[in-house]
Symmetry: C2
Subunit: 224 residues, 2 copies
Amino acid sequence: MLRLSECLPRENSRDYALRTFKENIINMDLPPGCIISESDLAAQMGLSRTPVREALIELSKVKIVEITPQKFSMVARINYDLVEESRFLREILECSVIELVCDMAAPQDIEQLEENVQLQNLYLARNASDQLMVMDNNFHAKLFDIAHKSQIYALTQNFSIHFDRVRRLALESVKDLKIVEDHAKILEAIRTNQPKQAKELMQIHLSRYKVDAVAIRAKYPEYF
Amino acid sequence: MLRLSECLPRENSRDYALRTFKENIINMDLPPGCIISESDLAAQMGLSRTPVREALIELSKVKIVEITPQKFSMVARINYDLVEESRFLREILECSVIELVCDMAAPQDIEQLEENVQLQNLYLARNASDQLMVMDNNFHAKLFDIAHKSQIYALTQNFSIHFDRVRRLALESVKDLKIVEDHAKILEAIRTNQPKQAKELMQIHLSRYKVDAVAIRAKYPEYF
DNA sequence: TGTGGGAAACTAGTATACCAGTTCTTGACA
DNA sequence: TGTCAAGAACTGGTATACTAGTTTCCCACA
Protein backbone atom coordinates (compact mmCIF):
# COMPACT_ATOMS: atom_id res chain seq x y z
CA MET A 1 0.00 0.00 0.00
CA LEU A 2 1.22 3.40 -1.00
CA ARG A 3 2.12 6.07 1.53
CA LEU A 4 0.58 9.24 0.18
CA SER A 5 1.32 12.89 0.71
CA GLU A 6 -0.46 15.92 -0.65
CA CYS A 7 -0.05 17.11 -4.18
CA LEU A 8 1.98 20.29 -3.91
CA PRO A 9 0.77 23.58 -5.35
CA ARG A 10 1.79 24.01 -9.01
CA GLU A 11 2.85 20.35 -9.09
CA ASN A 12 1.18 18.43 -11.88
CA SER A 13 -0.12 14.90 -11.48
CA ARG A 14 2.85 13.32 -13.16
CA ASP A 15 5.38 15.00 -10.87
CA TYR A 16 3.20 14.17 -7.90
CA ALA A 17 3.16 10.51 -8.92
CA LEU A 18 6.90 10.51 -9.58
CA ARG A 19 7.69 12.08 -6.23
CA THR A 20 5.38 9.68 -4.45
CA PHE A 21 6.88 6.61 -6.08
CA LYS A 22 10.43 7.72 -5.36
CA GLU A 23 9.60 8.30 -1.71
CA ASN A 24 7.81 4.99 -1.39
CA ILE A 25 10.62 3.10 -3.08
CA ILE A 26 13.33 4.63 -0.92
CA ASN A 27 11.45 4.10 2.32
CA MET A 28 10.60 0.53 1.26
CA ASP A 29 6.85 0.94 1.24
CA LEU A 30 7.31 -0.22 -2.31
CA PRO A 31 10.00 -2.81 -1.52
CA PRO A 32 12.41 -4.35 -4.03
CA GLY A 33 10.62 -7.08 -5.99
CA CYS A 34 7.21 -5.55 -5.35
CA ILE A 35 4.80 -6.12 -8.23
CA ILE A 36 3.01 -2.96 -9.23
CA SER A 37 0.35 -2.16 -11.78
CA GLU A 38 -0.37 1.15 -13.41
CA SER A 39 -4.10 0.96 -12.80
CA ASP A 40 -3.68 -0.12 -9.18
CA LEU A 41 -1.27 2.74 -8.41
CA ALA A 42 -3.52 5.15 -10.28
CA ALA A 43 -6.50 4.07 -8.21
CA GLN A 44 -4.54 4.42 -4.96
CA MET A 45 -3.50 7.93 -5.89
CA GLY A 46 -6.86 8.99 -7.26
CA LEU A 47 -5.35 9.64 -10.70
CA SER A 48 -5.78 8.17 -14.12
CA ARG A 49 -3.24 5.80 -15.61
CA THR A 50 -1.64 8.46 -17.81
CA PRO A 51 0.40 10.47 -15.28
CA VAL A 52 1.18 7.31 -13.30
CA ARG A 53 2.41 5.61 -16.43
CA GLU A 54 4.59 8.57 -17.35
CA ALA A 55 6.19 8.49 -13.91
CA LEU A 56 6.84 4.75 -14.11
CA ILE A 57 8.42 5.12 -17.54
CA GLU A 58 10.84 7.65 -16.12
CA LEU A 59 11.82 5.33 -13.28
CA SER A 60 12.20 2.44 -15.70
CA LYS A 61 14.79 4.46 -17.61
CA VAL A 62 17.16 4.16 -14.65
CA LYS A 63 16.13 0.56 -13.99
CA ILE A 64 14.46 1.35 -10.67
CA VAL A 65 11.25 -0.01 -12.13
CA GLU A 66 11.21 -2.92 -14.55
CA ILE A 67 8.38 -2.93 -17.04
CA THR A 68 7.65 -6.18 -18.85
CA PRO A 69 5.10 -5.31 -21.53
CA GLN A 70 1.78 -7.12 -21.34
CA LYS A 71 2.98 -8.99 -18.26
CA PHE A 72 3.78 -6.93 -15.20
CA SER A 73 5.88 -4.17 -13.71
CA MET A 74 8.06 -4.54 -10.68
CA VAL A 75 10.11 -2.40 -8.36
CA ALA A 76 13.60 -3.58 -9.25
CA ARG A 77 15.29 -5.90 -6.82
CA ILE A 78 18.55 -4.62 -5.38
CA ASN A 79 21.29 -5.09 -7.94
CA TYR A 80 24.71 -4.44 -6.52
CA ASP A 81 26.15 -3.65 -9.91
CA LEU A 82 23.70 -0.78 -10.18
CA VAL A 83 24.27 0.26 -6.57
CA GLU A 84 27.97 0.44 -7.31
CA GLU A 85 27.41 2.37 -10.52
CA SER A 86 25.25 4.79 -8.60
CA ARG A 87 27.87 5.22 -5.89
CA PHE A 88 30.67 5.52 -8.45
CA LEU A 89 28.84 8.21 -10.37
CA ARG A 90 28.23 10.25 -7.27
CA GLU A 91 31.82 9.95 -6.12
CA ILE A 92 33.47 11.05 -9.33
CA LEU A 93 30.95 13.83 -9.90
CA GLU A 94 31.13 15.27 -6.40
CA CYS A 95 34.92 15.07 -6.34
CA SER A 96 35.21 16.86 -9.68
CA VAL A 97 32.62 19.45 -8.79
CA ILE A 98 34.14 20.34 -5.42
CA GLU A 99 37.39 21.31 -7.14
CA LEU A 100 35.50 23.65 -9.42
CA VAL A 101 33.61 25.07 -6.47
CA CYS A 102 36.82 26.21 -4.80
CA ASP A 103 37.56 28.38 -7.82
CA MET A 104 34.05 29.48 -8.59
CA ALA A 105 32.37 30.14 -5.26
CA ALA A 106 31.36 33.76 -4.82
CA PRO A 107 31.16 35.33 -1.35
CA GLN A 108 27.38 35.05 -1.29
CA ASP A 109 27.64 31.36 -2.23
CA ILE A 110 29.86 30.78 0.77
CA GLU A 111 27.41 32.69 2.92
CA GLN A 112 24.63 30.41 1.80
CA LEU A 113 26.71 27.34 2.53
CA GLU A 114 27.54 28.74 5.97
CA GLU A 115 23.86 29.30 6.64
CA ASN A 116 23.17 25.75 5.56
CA VAL A 117 25.82 24.28 7.84
CA GLN A 118 24.55 26.34 10.76
CA LEU A 119 21.09 24.94 10.19
CA GLN A 120 22.61 21.48 10.07
CA ASN A 121 24.13 22.08 13.48
CA LEU A 122 20.79 23.26 14.76
CA TYR A 123 18.93 20.21 13.47
CA LEU A 124 21.71 17.99 14.76
CA ALA A 125 21.28 19.45 18.24
CA ARG A 126 17.52 18.93 17.96
CA ASN A 127 17.95 15.38 16.71
CA ALA A 128 15.84 16.34 13.69
CA SER A 129 17.21 13.75 11.30
CA ASP A 130 14.69 14.32 8.54
CA GLN A 131 15.33 18.04 8.39
CA LEU A 132 19.06 17.37 8.61
CA MET A 133 18.81 15.10 5.60
CA VAL A 134 17.07 17.84 3.66
CA MET A 135 19.88 20.25 4.46
CA ASP A 136 22.42 17.58 3.56
CA ASN A 137 20.92 17.16 0.11
CA ASN A 138 20.65 20.90 -0.12
CA PHE A 139 24.34 21.33 0.64
CA HIS A 140 25.40 19.01 -2.16
CA ALA A 141 22.89 20.49 -4.61
CA LYS A 142 24.26 23.93 -3.84
CA LEU A 143 27.79 22.75 -4.69
CA PHE A 144 26.65 21.61 -8.13
CA ASP A 145 24.86 24.89 -8.49
CA ILE A 146 27.95 26.93 -7.71
CA ALA A 147 29.93 24.93 -10.26
CA HIS A 148 27.18 25.51 -12.85
CA LYS A 149 26.46 21.82 -13.03
CA SER A 150 22.85 21.79 -11.84
CA GLN A 151 21.61 19.83 -14.81
CA ILE A 152 24.12 17.05 -14.14
CA TYR A 153 22.90 16.99 -10.55
CA ALA A 154 19.32 16.68 -11.75
CA LEU A 155 20.30 13.97 -14.20
CA THR A 156 21.66 11.78 -11.43
CA GLN A 157 18.80 12.14 -8.98
CA ASN A 158 16.70 9.20 -10.15
CA PHE A 159 19.70 6.95 -10.60
CA SER A 160 20.82 7.62 -7.05
CA ILE A 161 17.78 5.78 -5.75
CA HIS A 162 19.73 2.56 -6.22
CA PHE A 163 22.25 3.77 -3.67
CA ASP A 164 19.79 5.62 -1.44
CA ARG A 165 17.56 2.70 -0.69
CA VAL A 166 20.47 0.44 0.16
CA ARG A 167 21.88 3.08 2.44
CA ARG A 168 18.56 3.08 4.19
CA LEU A 169 18.89 -0.64 4.87
CA ALA A 170 22.41 -0.25 6.21
CA LEU A 171 22.60 -1.70 9.68
CA GLU A 172 25.15 0.85 10.91
CA SER A 173 23.58 4.21 10.34
CA VAL A 174 26.00 6.97 9.56
CA LYS A 175 26.42 9.26 12.51
CA ASP A 176 24.84 12.61 11.85
CA LEU A 177 27.61 14.25 13.87
CA LYS A 178 30.27 13.08 11.43
CA ILE A 179 28.28 14.29 8.44
CA VAL A 180 27.89 17.79 9.75
CA GLU A 181 31.55 17.93 10.75
CA ASP A 182 32.46 16.83 7.22
CA HIS A 183 30.36 19.55 5.68
CA ALA A 184 31.94 22.18 7.92
CA LYS A 185 35.43 21.01 6.97
CA ILE A 186 34.59 20.96 3.28
CA LEU A 187 33.20 24.45 3.53
CA GLU A 188 36.39 25.60 5.26
CA ALA A 189 38.46 24.12 2.42
CA ILE A 190 36.30 25.98 -0.07
CA ARG A 191 36.64 29.22 1.84
CA THR A 192 40.42 28.93 1.95
CA ASN A 193 40.50 27.82 -1.68
CA GLN A 194 42.17 24.44 -1.22
CA PRO A 195 40.76 22.27 -4.00
CA LYS A 196 42.95 19.23 -3.29
CA GLN A 197 42.02 19.29 0.36
CA ALA A 198 38.35 19.75 -0.46
CA LYS A 199 38.43 16.81 -2.82
CA GLU A 200 40.04 14.56 -0.22
CA LEU A 201 37.51 15.62 2.38
CA MET A 202 34.69 14.92 -0.03
CA GLN A 203 36.03 11.45 -0.72
CA ILE A 204 36.19 10.72 2.98
CA HIS A 205 32.71 12.16 3.41
CA LEU A 206 31.15 10.00 0.73
CA SER A 207 32.96 6.88 1.90
CA ARG A 208 31.09 7.11 5.20
CA TYR A 209 28.02 5.87 3.41
CA LYS A 210 29.63 2.64 2.38
CA VAL A 211 27.33 -0.21 3.16
CA ASP A 212 27.90 -3.77 4.24
CA ALA A 213 26.43 -5.57 1.27
CA VAL A 214 26.84 -9.03 2.75
CA ALA A 215 25.06 -8.14 5.98
CA ILE A 216 22.18 -6.49 4.17
CA ARG A 217 21.80 -9.41 1.85
CA ALA A 218 21.77 -11.81 4.79
CA LYS A 219 19.07 -9.83 6.54
CA TYR A 220 16.87 -9.09 3.52
CA PRO A 221 17.43 -11.95 1.06
CA GLU A 222 14.04 -11.38 -0.57
CA TYR A 223 15.16 -7.95 -1.74
CA PHE A 224 17.85 -9.35 -4.04
CA MET B 1 9.31 18.72 -41.56
CA LEU B 2 10.42 15.52 -39.92
CA ARG B 3 12.89 13.16 -41.56
CA LEU B 4 11.45 9.72 -40.98
CA SER B 5 12.97 6.26 -40.91
CA GLU B 6 11.31 2.92 -40.49
CA CYS B 7 10.11 1.66 -37.14
CA LEU B 8 12.54 -1.10 -36.22
CA PRO B 9 11.35 -4.61 -35.42
CA ARG B 10 10.46 -5.03 -31.75
CA GLU B 11 10.73 -1.26 -31.29
CA ASN B 12 7.61 0.23 -29.79
CA SER B 13 6.09 3.49 -30.96
CA ARG B 14 7.52 5.47 -28.09
CA ASP B 15 11.10 4.38 -28.76
CA TYR B 16 10.55 4.95 -32.46
CA ALA B 17 9.39 8.49 -31.76
CA LEU B 18 12.26 9.11 -29.35
CA ARG B 19 14.86 7.84 -31.80
CA THR B 20 13.34 9.89 -34.60
CA PHE B 21 13.29 13.09 -32.57
CA LYS B 22 16.87 12.63 -31.40
CA GLU B 23 18.06 12.09 -34.97
CA ASN B 24 16.12 15.06 -36.27
CA ILE B 25 17.36 17.33 -33.50
CA ILE B 26 21.01 16.38 -33.97
CA ASN B 27 20.91 16.75 -37.73
CA MET B 28 19.05 20.07 -37.39
CA ASP B 29 15.90 19.02 -39.22
CA LEU B 30 14.36 20.07 -35.93
CA PRO B 31 16.59 23.11 -35.42
CA PRO B 32 17.14 24.93 -32.12
CA GLY B 33 14.18 27.20 -31.41
CA CYS B 34 11.85 25.15 -33.59
CA ILE B 35 8.29 25.17 -32.29
CA ILE B 36 6.79 21.70 -32.17
CA SER B 37 3.41 20.36 -31.22
CA GLU B 38 2.55 16.92 -30.00
CA SER B 39 -0.35 16.50 -32.38
CA ASP B 40 1.60 17.78 -35.37
CA LEU B 41 4.53 15.44 -34.74
CA ALA B 42 2.10 12.58 -34.09
CA ALA B 43 0.39 13.23 -37.42
CA GLN B 44 3.72 13.37 -39.27
CA MET B 45 4.76 10.03 -37.78
CA GLY B 46 1.40 8.36 -38.18
CA LEU B 47 1.09 7.80 -34.43
CA SER B 48 -1.22 9.04 -31.73
CA ARG B 49 -0.16 11.73 -29.31
CA THR B 50 0.57 9.29 -26.48
CA PRO B 51 3.90 7.78 -27.59
CA VAL B 52 4.99 11.11 -29.08
CA ARG B 53 4.22 12.85 -25.83
CA GLU B 54 6.14 10.26 -23.81
CA ALA B 55 9.18 10.77 -26.03
CA LEU B 56 9.00 14.56 -25.70
CA ILE B 57 8.72 14.31 -21.93
CA GLU B 58 11.92 12.28 -21.86
CA LEU B 59 13.75 14.88 -23.94
CA SER B 60 12.38 17.67 -21.79
CA LYS B 61 14.01 16.03 -18.75
CA VAL B 62 17.43 16.88 -20.17
CA LYS B 63 16.26 20.28 -21.43
CA ILE B 64 16.61 19.37 -25.09
CA VAL B 65 12.92 20.08 -25.45
CA GLU B 66 11.20 22.82 -23.50
CA ILE B 67 7.55 22.24 -22.72
CA THR B 68 5.49 25.23 -21.65
CA PRO B 69 2.13 23.83 -20.57
CA GLN B 70 -0.91 25.10 -22.43
CA LYS B 71 1.33 27.27 -24.58
CA PHE B 72 3.86 25.51 -26.78
CA SER B 73 6.84 23.20 -26.91
CA MET B 74 10.13 24.05 -28.49
CA VAL B 75 13.39 22.41 -29.40
CA ALA B 76 15.71 24.14 -26.96
CA ARG B 77 17.95 26.81 -28.33
CA ILE B 78 21.67 26.19 -27.92
CA ASN B 79 22.65 27.01 -24.38
CA TYR B 80 26.38 27.03 -23.89
CA ASP B 81 26.08 26.35 -20.20
CA LEU B 82 24.36 23.08 -21.04
CA VAL B 83 26.80 22.33 -23.85
CA GLU B 84 29.62 22.78 -21.37
CA GLU B 85 27.89 20.61 -18.77
CA SER B 86 27.43 17.95 -21.38
CA ARG B 87 31.09 18.11 -22.43
CA PHE B 88 32.24 18.17 -18.82
CA LEU B 89 30.19 15.13 -17.93
CA ARG B 90 31.56 13.16 -20.83
CA GLU B 91 35.13 14.13 -20.06
CA ILE B 92 35.15 13.19 -16.41
CA LEU B 93 33.22 9.99 -17.03
CA GLU B 94 35.34 8.78 -19.90
CA CYS B 95 38.54 9.63 -18.11
CA SER B 96 37.48 7.77 -14.98
CA VAL B 97 36.17 4.82 -16.90
CA ILE B 98 39.27 4.37 -19.03
CA GLU B 99 41.36 3.90 -15.89
CA LEU B 100 39.04 1.16 -14.73
CA VAL B 101 39.13 -0.43 -18.15
CA CYS B 102 42.89 -0.90 -17.95
CA ASP B 103 42.41 -3.04 -14.86
CA MET B 104 39.24 -4.79 -15.86
CA ALA B 105 39.56 -5.57 -19.56
CA ALA B 106 39.55 -9.30 -20.27
CA PRO B 107 41.36 -10.71 -23.31
CA GLN B 108 38.13 -11.09 -25.25
CA ASP B 109 37.25 -7.47 -24.48
CA ILE B 110 40.53 -6.37 -26.01
CA GLU B 111 39.84 -8.59 -28.98
CA GLN B 112 36.51 -6.88 -29.51
CA LEU B 113 38.11 -3.45 -29.26
CA GLU B 114 40.75 -4.52 -31.78
CA GLU B 115 38.06 -5.71 -34.13
CA ASN B 116 36.31 -2.39 -33.72
CA VAL B 117 39.43 -0.37 -34.46
CA GLN B 118 40.15 -2.49 -37.52
CA LEU B 119 36.68 -1.76 -38.81
CA GLN B 120 37.29 1.91 -38.11
CA ASN B 121 40.38 1.76 -40.30
CA LEU B 122 38.37 0.05 -43.00
CA TYR B 123 35.62 2.67 -42.95
CA LEU B 124 38.24 5.40 -42.80
CA ALA B 125 39.84 4.05 -45.98
CA ARG B 126 36.42 3.88 -47.59
CA ASN B 127 35.52 7.40 -46.47
CA ALA B 128 32.41 5.94 -44.85
CA SER B 129 31.95 8.62 -42.21
CA ASP B 130 28.54 7.48 -41.04
CA GLN B 131 29.67 3.94 -40.41
CA LEU B 132 32.81 5.27 -38.79
CA MET B 133 30.73 7.31 -36.41
CA VAL B 134 28.78 4.22 -35.46
CA MET B 135 31.99 2.38 -34.64
CA ASP B 136 33.24 5.42 -32.74
CA ASN B 137 30.18 5.42 -30.51
CA ASN B 138 30.49 1.68 -30.26
CA PHE B 139 34.09 1.95 -29.07
CA HIS B 140 33.21 4.28 -26.24
CA ALA B 141 30.12 2.28 -25.29
CA LYS B 142 32.28 -0.83 -25.11
CA LEU B 143 34.65 0.90 -22.69
CA PHE B 144 31.78 1.68 -20.32
CA ASP B 145 30.64 -1.89 -20.73
CA ILE B 146 34.03 -3.31 -19.78
CA ALA B 147 34.09 -1.12 -16.68
CA HIS B 148 30.57 -2.28 -15.78
CA LYS B 149 29.23 1.21 -16.16
CA SER B 150 26.74 0.66 -18.98
CA GLN B 151 23.89 2.24 -17.11
CA ILE B 152 25.87 5.42 -16.59
CA TYR B 153 26.58 5.44 -20.30
CA ALA B 154 22.88 5.07 -21.04
CA LEU B 155 22.04 7.79 -18.56
CA THR B 156 24.18 10.31 -20.40
CA GLN B 157 23.00 9.58 -23.93
CA ASN B 158 20.12 12.06 -24.08
CA PHE B 159 22.07 14.76 -22.30
CA SER B 160 24.90 14.43 -24.81
CA ILE B 161 22.62 15.79 -27.53
CA HIS B 162 23.50 19.28 -26.30
CA PHE B 163 27.11 18.66 -27.22
CA ASP B 164 26.43 16.51 -30.28
CA ARG B 165 24.40 19.05 -32.17
CA VAL B 166 26.90 21.82 -31.55
CA ARG B 167 29.68 19.56 -32.73
CA ARG B 168 27.72 19.08 -35.90
CA LEU B 169 27.70 22.83 -36.48
CA ALA B 170 31.42 23.15 -35.87
CA LEU B 171 33.05 24.80 -38.83
CA GLU B 172 36.27 22.85 -38.54
CA SER B 173 35.29 19.22 -38.78
CA VAL B 174 37.36 16.83 -36.75
CA LYS B 175 39.59 14.74 -38.94
CA ASP B 176 38.52 11.12 -38.97
CA LEU B 177 42.14 10.07 -39.29
CA LYS B 178 43.01 11.59 -35.91
CA ILE B 179 40.06 9.92 -34.23
CA VAL B 180 40.98 6.47 -35.41
CA GLU B 181 44.61 7.01 -34.46
CA ASP B 182 43.49 8.10 -31.00
CA HIS B 183 41.41 4.98 -30.56
CA ALA B 184 44.30 2.79 -31.60
CA LYS B 185 46.61 4.51 -29.12
CA ILE B 186 44.08 4.23 -26.33
CA LEU B 187 43.62 0.57 -27.07
CA GLU B 188 47.38 0.09 -26.93
CA ALA B 189 47.48 1.77 -23.52
CA ILE B 190 44.74 -0.55 -22.32
CA ARG B 191 46.53 -3.59 -23.66
CA THR B 192 49.76 -2.62 -21.92
CA ASN B 193 47.85 -1.69 -18.77
CA GLN B 194 48.91 1.95 -18.52
CA PRO B 195 45.96 3.70 -16.90
CA LYS B 196 47.63 7.12 -16.58
CA GLN B 197 48.67 7.05 -20.20
CA ALA B 198 45.21 5.90 -21.27
CA LYS B 199 43.59 8.72 -19.34
CA GLU B 200 45.84 11.33 -20.91
CA LEU B 201 45.17 9.96 -24.38
CA MET B 202 41.46 10.05 -23.71
CA GLN B 203 41.65 13.66 -22.61
CA ILE B 204 43.48 14.58 -25.80
CA HIS B 205 40.99 12.57 -27.80
CA LEU B 206 37.95 14.31 -26.35
CA SER B 207 39.54 17.74 -26.60
CA ARG B 208 39.60 17.36 -30.38
CA TYR B 209 35.89 17.96 -30.39
CA LYS B 210 36.19 21.37 -28.83
CA VAL B 211 34.11 23.80 -30.78
CA ASP B 212 34.51 27.47 -31.55
CA ALA B 213 31.48 28.85 -29.80
CA VAL B 214 31.96 32.39 -31.05
CA ALA B 215 32.22 31.36 -34.70
CA ILE B 216 29.14 29.14 -34.48
CA ARG B 217 27.16 31.84 -32.78
CA ALA B 218 28.17 34.32 -35.46
CA LYS B 219 27.10 32.01 -38.23
CA TYR B 220 23.86 30.76 -36.68
CA PRO B 221 22.61 33.53 -34.37
CA GLU B 222 19.03 32.28 -34.64
CA TYR B 223 19.99 29.05 -32.90
CA PHE B 224 20.90 30.80 -29.65
C1' DT C 1 -9.11 -38.40 -11.69
C1' DG C 2 -6.36 -36.15 -14.99
C1' DT C 3 -6.01 -33.25 -18.98
C1' DG C 4 -6.92 -29.92 -22.44
C1' DG C 5 -9.30 -25.93 -24.04
C1' DG C 6 -11.36 -21.74 -23.72
C1' DA C 7 -13.18 -17.89 -21.40
C1' DA C 8 -12.12 -14.35 -18.17
C1' DA C 9 -9.15 -11.33 -15.92
C1' DC C 10 -5.33 -9.33 -15.84
C1' DT C 11 -1.06 -6.69 -18.10
C1' DA C 12 1.02 -2.60 -20.69
C1' DG C 13 0.72 -0.08 -25.33
C1' DT C 14 -1.83 2.93 -28.10
C1' DA C 15 -5.67 5.88 -29.59
C1' DT C 16 -9.07 9.07 -28.58
C1' DA C 17 -11.89 12.26 -25.90
C1' DC C 18 -12.20 15.79 -22.93
C1' DC C 19 -10.40 19.65 -19.92
C1' DA C 20 -8.23 23.91 -18.88
C1' DG C 21 -5.46 27.53 -20.08
C1' DT C 22 -3.45 30.77 -23.82
C1' DT C 23 -3.40 33.31 -28.09
C1' DC C 24 -5.29 35.30 -31.95
C1' DT C 25 -8.90 36.83 -34.75
C1' DT C 26 -12.86 39.13 -35.67
C1' DG C 27 -16.56 42.06 -35.35
C1' DA C 28 -19.54 45.17 -32.89
C1' DC C 29 -19.65 49.44 -30.80
C1' DA C 30 -17.93 53.98 -29.24
C1' DT D 1 -10.66 54.62 -36.66
C1' DG D 2 -9.71 52.64 -32.32
C1' DT D 3 -10.99 49.50 -28.63
C1' DC D 4 -12.52 45.81 -26.41
C1' DA D 5 -15.00 41.67 -25.83
C1' DA D 6 -16.44 37.19 -27.47
C1' DG D 7 -15.21 33.18 -29.47
C1' DA D 8 -12.54 30.15 -32.29
C1' DA D 9 -8.34 27.69 -32.59
C1' DC D 10 -4.71 26.32 -30.74
C1' DT D 11 -1.60 24.36 -26.62
C1' DG D 12 -0.37 20.54 -23.29
C1' DG D 13 -2.54 17.76 -19.16
C1' DT D 14 -5.59 14.24 -17.84
C1' DA D 15 -9.09 10.65 -18.28
C1' DT D 16 -10.96 6.99 -20.70
C1' DA D 17 -11.51 3.49 -24.34
C1' DC D 18 -9.73 0.11 -26.93
C1' DT D 19 -5.99 -3.36 -28.48
C1' DA D 20 -3.12 -7.13 -28.11
C1' DG D 21 -0.66 -10.20 -25.49
C1' DT D 22 -0.21 -13.23 -21.07
C1' DT D 23 -1.75 -15.77 -17.17
C1' DT D 24 -5.14 -18.04 -14.51
C1' DC D 25 -8.69 -20.75 -13.61
C1' DC D 26 -12.43 -23.61 -14.31
C1' DC D 27 -15.17 -26.79 -16.60
C1' DA D 28 -16.03 -30.19 -20.08
C1' DC D 29 -14.45 -34.29 -21.55
C1' DA D 30 -11.53 -38.42 -21.90
